[in-house]
């Protein structure tokens, strides 16, 4: 589904991530874990067309999408939900969702599917996105991305700014999506949350992938346990 090779990117000529390689297979949930500043956001921005990579390739369903603009990649069926969410604050929840299907026609079934997944959005249908709480905005950002029935959902830190309970709720919703067959790639620094959800993972440190493996393997790794799971 997604294959990234030899991927480097950064800002003003200084690479933040170096020679990364990873892949996501159809139906998988894959996590990229690492602390703040490890390069997760840079990786996703460069992968999704918001930042030009300095080298490497990104293949999505076999097509080379390296360096293509974000709006083009979004239309191919790989939807990125940024940690900053980038909602349309002065538009209603409904309008945000409708635009999620752009340029297609919003399908009523998909809308009701999103509303079933996030009942809060149904309650707040006519409210402006900018006036909602952080948790609701996160739901809306994911909901908007789902409107186009993407084949791959790329989430950057869905737990950002959410209280622990809400973060758990967010991951529960993602779990439901997974069971329905959606392929998900998620970056997360709250590692326990991501581990409860993912099949496999990569550990990103200072811009390099240090470790990879199934969730069980990573959870059993002493380094991961002490650095990310608070176990000594």
């Amino acid at each position: 589904m997604l294959e990234v090779k030899g991927f480097s990117a950064g800002y003003q000529g200084n690479d933040v991530i170096h020679d990364l390689a990873f892949h996501v297979d159809p139906g998988e949930a894959v996590m990229i874990i690492g602390s703040n500043g490890a390069g997760k956001t840079t990786l996703f921005r460069a992968m999704c067309g918001l930042l030009s990579p300095s080298s490497g390739t990104v293949l999505f369903e076999g097509d080379d999408i390296t360096g293509l603009p974000a709006e083009y990649i979004a239309r191919l069926g790989m939807k990125f939900v940024s940690a900053e969410r980038h909602l349309f604050p002065r538009m209603t929840v409904q309008e945000n969702l409708l635009l999620g299907a752009y340029p297609g026609k919003p399908d009523p079934e998909t809308i009701s599917g999103v509303m079933d997944l996030f009942p809060r959005l149904a309650e707040r249908r006519r409210q402006h996105a900018g006036t909602m709480s952080g948790g609701e905005q996160q739901m809306l950002a994911v909901g908007r991305a789902l409107m186009s029935r993407p084949r791959l959902l790329v989430l950057d830190e869905p737990s950002t700014g959410l209280a622990p309970l809400l973060a758990q709720e967010a991951y529960q919703a993602l779990g439901v999506l997974r069971e329905r067959g959606l392929t998900v790639l998620v970056a997360e620094q709250q590692v326990p949350l991501a581990m409860a959800f993912s099949d496999r993972g990569y550990v990103l440190e200072n811009g390099f992938i240090r470790l990879q493996g199934t969730t069980e393997e990573l959870a059993a790794n002493p380094g991961v346990r002490s650095a990310y799971l608070g176990v000594t």
Binding site: C48, G49, L50, P69, A70, E71, A74, R75, K79, F80, V81, S82, R85, H86, L87, F88, P89, R90, M91, E95, L98, L99, G100, Y102, P103, K105, R144, A145, S148
Partner: protein, 285 residues
Amino acid sequence: MTANILDGIVLGLQFGLLAAGLTLVYGLGGVLNLAYGQMAVVAAIVISLAMDAGLPVFPAVAVGLLAGGMFGLLLDLTLLRPVYRRRDEARVLLSLLLTLGVSFIVDGFLVWRYPLEALSLHIRGGAIEILGVPMRRGSLVASAITLITFAGLYVFFQRTTLGRAVRSVIEDEEGARLVGIYPNRMLRLILILSGVLAGLVAVTRAMITPVDVHSGLSITVFALIVTVVGGLGNVAGALLAGIILGIVNVIAADLIGSYISLIILLGAAAVTILIRPAGLLGVKE
């Protein structure tokens, strides 16, 4: 007083229409189009020439609006290309300088080739009384066209997918891109729309006062003032600011003298920048 307010509303609707095209392009693309008045003048001259050539008024107006739209498209395809590659302040400044250049060239060309061409659209028939005040038919038709245009803009931006997509780029360009909306295509569309709106400015203005080859600068200046007061990128703000400034202008001209009214308008813009930098209906970034 009623007469002043009604005249003020007529003028204010004109102002609002003036600002709509300018404010959209600025709000969407960070492009300040100082050739905006020339877009209107080109449309006016095209209509006038078409009518000289024997075309009836409606087809002539259609040709003029098309010319305005083409002007916008041409700017987008040529001169604004390097502007789009820049961000923020550099973008505004470059767009300002380049379009100012365009305005000089267009003015120069029109003065050279069509020095005496002017567009006046006379609406036949006597005055119509509204609230006891006799109003010129031309003013009323112009105001009606303006109101219909704003209603059309409202429906476009609030009810259509394409209109929402344009708004989404104004609200959050990165969010729009992540959804799959091409900001540059939206900007091209809005530049064409802005040219058509400039053409409508020419048409409605010509119903009240002649539009000639020297009208460009004053149209741009008034549009800028109203845009600043109404809030950049805000069409509803443009309409509201236009009506308020229109009433202020007429009353000031009546009480003090018309020579002072432009100063008062500029003062209103200056005060707005001080008190509400984002404009009447603007939202802080």
